[in-house]
Subunit: 343 residues, 4 copies
């Protein structure tokens, strides 16, 4: 078969491991040929692609990002998009099937295309760990690793100055990165979108820790919103649905803590370093296994399905399972983390 | 309650995270007190312990090793061992329950003690990932991380000289570390105890890669034994069952490759760096969750049980489940890795 | 002798290595005793100190921050400060000499105290590398290491999205961290306080790189001010001399680039992670050697002097040499870096 | 000009940074063209080379090894070697000058060629830091960084088991890596080729530390030979001068310590991981500056000279200065380190 690969949406460490293993598995086990569409669905729609041979994927699994590039183009909103034109385009270029690697938006596009008769399978990608139907995806572990390392650093400088250190991490809609990195780093408070916590409660935790002579560490997901703070956080542009985009929560709560408790406080917004750079071993293994499975799904003609992790197994699931709402942090996981909070 | 903690067997990154969270959870949620037995079962039997308060566990989750020390003392073979003496000793020191953190041997001891009426629960620890009944334990991910980083380094020097690089990793009885680190690093051959591979087959893979102008990377678990090589590897002392201990497999196959193929080859035996140093975020989270669960098991009086990971959940399992033979690498996982081998 | 140690000013990886080696050298070579003043000059003035024995410094060289804590207290501005009161205080507590480890402010205080008869020697500390009279100090190399690693990560995500990535690093008055980390990471533009660069020139460099299909990386020191931008950057409080404190330069130029070139751009302000965490081997060696030298200076009664690095040697220099203005990036070093800029 | 680059001898992190900056500087500042000879002098002699343009050096500074490959071929011993043939070869391929990047052997070859009229300049490379005439070269800092990290890991496992940990590091003729990494990691004994230390003395240090309840860390350079141990270490092939090659010193002293003191001991030979992988920021900056200087030397026609680091400056030195014997660890540096030894 001649198979097209694409990566779409935000980049994520581990994408290249998926590409590598799918290509090597296809060449070796099935005699497949591969093309890589550039910049996501855009490359597929516009037939902008490169051939992917064994040499092209050599040594890429340890590199962050994606060798194919990525974008947020949607396969139905593009002028040349939609199932008929895409079907013709694929036929013209002799592409028999497509492996789409991406997050919720990408997989929704893949599902719709599959329903419309395009031979597409998916590989789930989300640095935020917000996709249902898979225990984890690649990228999340690397983000945890980077954030944990950064917080270890923040703690030593915090303790030298007896300051409160705040660390804003990724997670616009869910708090998984905050939860895991905060638990790993021994955070004294973790603030996530799924859980309402008042600034008063936060300040109480901070003061408990500070009064014991320690330097409080607060981890906050970018999407956390304290009561009555929407106005203060607004003005960062618009979300796709037109609501005002909120931002700067780390800076906001740092100021609040300092004003209310008098404890010197500093914010560090980790930002884009959380999604770049060499993937961890964990993410490379997971990406590699996903790539192998995706290729097998193609040969099963399991259109509209994707690879997923369940326990230690890589399984086939229907894309609709992954699209059934965001995977939020359950209350019991937050309660577990709270054991380490405050005093 | 007054609860004793001990770590036994080989050390492993993540042990301190277990200790920290069990202690903090107990103090905060149940008003427990804690003692830490020094050097494993030995400290319990000889009543050599320290008090463990909030201050004693501060900041330890990011440190490798175990603040309690460890040893290979067995609770039944020690002169003051056995259930009656231990029961008296625990009573004399007002210890109501014991959390034993360790591998197969430790958990077997814990199980037998529990069967003999001692209030013991377990936490599984194995850097080799060879325990059944839990998807993973802490320490394994850190070992993979260290080994993968080391192999990334070996590849650049190998490629500069067009050499074959061999890396011997831990795994006396199972090949999990070799499998995952080799898959992450893009190894061209992975040799594990569970799978028979001839030196001829290995040399074929090495030559395929070398002839394409690349530097072959071979990962070998310390417990792998090629056909007819037992004699060559013997003379490293004795196993506990009296058989000769084998060793130096990395060096052995490096010499074999060089002699048979003429390709310049170098071995690096990673050794003890694989089990030391700061745990990864993954292992800290897992250790933290295990510690919390173990404390809950104590309050459930679930003697003879342990914490285990299943998917994303921490569950209670009977210790006997973990002791039902080693968890070996299944054939299908090896076949998956073989996709990346050789040419 | 009985010697007091203190760390003052911003913390910096390597401080603990200085403390360790001074203490071990003193105990072993001279039979000295040590006290550690807490939180800088404050602890000395208020006689808030701990005894420092061999056990207290064990294993600390690999930890970031300072076990003694630090503050910005000035020995002449404190109510109990000034040479007479300090002399009495030291006498009352049997402290024969003081080793003050700190930056420009600290060393200026030490110099003035030494001139006023207090037996003080110095150890230079500056994460920014802005002290004259020493080639480097500890902390700078760790900062470069952290910033370089962060930029490696930014590059992979930048290249996947074909974005311009901006990284704001420390350096309020000098551009050493920007220069070295930018050179290491292959930055396409480096902006430092010592060199005037227009936004037009910057955009030209960015466009050159972007038009070749690459992702531009811009490194900017926090103290860089483009022409006519003071107003835009103001409102971050006041400098000590009353001028408005400027801030947010990374965010500012990111917006400028995006507006003027239309190239999607993202800023990451590395912040406090640059000064925390485990020191590099380089900084541990340098801190260790500085500590040994400082102790020798005490026994030479070289009051008013400090340890310094010249080439590969640790030498004695008068504190006044270090206080003769900031060490700025010379033009020729900037020209050297410019070779890598833009196209 | 049309300039040929080559890397020769053992590989070393930082080589690619030299190549990158020389090429970019030449293209931008002088309009030069570049070729890269493959596998050291061999590629030059056999005219096996690739063109090196801007695209070919993009992003390579952060990669270990050398994109040109390397070998130990000597320009006078090769059948087509010697100055006349080389001069003709260079002329035939329009190469106007050669930049040779390598260690003692390479630079000796470059010097002899320059004396024989070939337009060659050098860049010093030695992971062992054994070259005179330059304070440091790239690669050494990366090796220190890797070895220090490994020893940090060994310490936590050592302390958990109360074992003596031995770490064998590179350094066949000089002890710089052992000295710096040992000092950084807080080693209780450092053994280097330049200093005679008896096994008795070593065991005394180890016992002092162990008796204080700690885990001794011993760092040994591969070229250290204790009294009367030549026979025990022999049988590893031959040195170039025909003497038996010695090896396995780490294993040897581990056995000695265990036998004489009864303290459980473990050796880890770090091996090739010390020379591979991503260079540190320090080494990338140094390599970059060396590359720029080397290109300037070419345009100065400073044949027979090389770039060197003196303090913070990159200077021009005659190759003969670098070839005037090995740079050994001076006694005073060893005495400095001994302050941290034993008790």
């Amino acid at each position: 078969m001649r198979i097209g690969l694409l990566t779409s949406g935000g980049d994520c460490p581990g994408l290249n491991a998926v590409i590598r293993s799918a290509v090597l598995h296809g060449i070796k086990s099935y005699g497949d040929e591969f093309v890589g569409f550039k910049a996501g669905w855009k490359g597929m729609i516009e037939a902008d692609y490169i051939d992917l041979g064994r040499q092209d994927v050599r040594g890429i699994a340890r590199e962050g990002g994606t060798i194919l590039g990525t974008s947020r183009t949607h396969p139905y909103n593009h002028p040349q998009g939609g199932p008929e034109k895409i079907a013709k385009q694929l036929k013209r270029h002799d592409v028999d099937a497509v492996i789409a690697i991406g997050g919720e938006g990408t997989l929704a596009g893949a599902k719709r295309l599959a329903d419309d008769g395009i031979p597409v399978v998916g590989v789930p990608k989300t640095i935020d760990n917000d996709l249902k139907a898979t225990d984890y995806t690649f990228g999340f572990d690397t983000a945890i690793s980077i954030a944990t390392d950064a917080m270890d650093r923040l703690r030593t400088t915090g303790e030298s100055h007896h300051r409160c250190m705040v660390s804003e991490v990724m997670g616009r809609h869910v708090g998984w990165i905050a939860l895991h990195s905060g638990m790993a780093a021994g955070a004294h408070a973790i603030l996530i979108p799924e859980q309402q916590v008042s600034i008063d409660q936060l300040c109480e935790w901070v003061e408990q820790v500070h009064s014991r002579g320690r330097s409080p560490l607060v981890v906050v997901a970018e999407g956390f919103i304290p009561e009555n703070a929407e106005e203060a956080l607004a003005g960062k542009g618009q979300e796709e649905d037109g609501r005002p985009r909120l931002g700067g929560i780390g800076e906001f709560i740092t100021t609040q803590i300092e004003e209310r408790t008098g404890i010197e406080s500093r914010n560090t917004t980790l930002g884009h370093i959380q999604r770049g750079g060499n993937p961890t071993g964990y993410d490379r293994v997971l990406g590699t296994r996903f790539g192998i499975k995706a290729l097998d799904l193609v040969h099963e003609q399991a259109w509209g399905h994707m690879a997923a992790l369940r326990g230690t197994e890589i399984v086939k699931v229907d894309l609709s399972e992954a699209l059934d709402g965001l995977k939020e942090v359950p209350s019991e996981r937050y309660e577990e983390a709270k054991i380490l909070f405050g005093r």
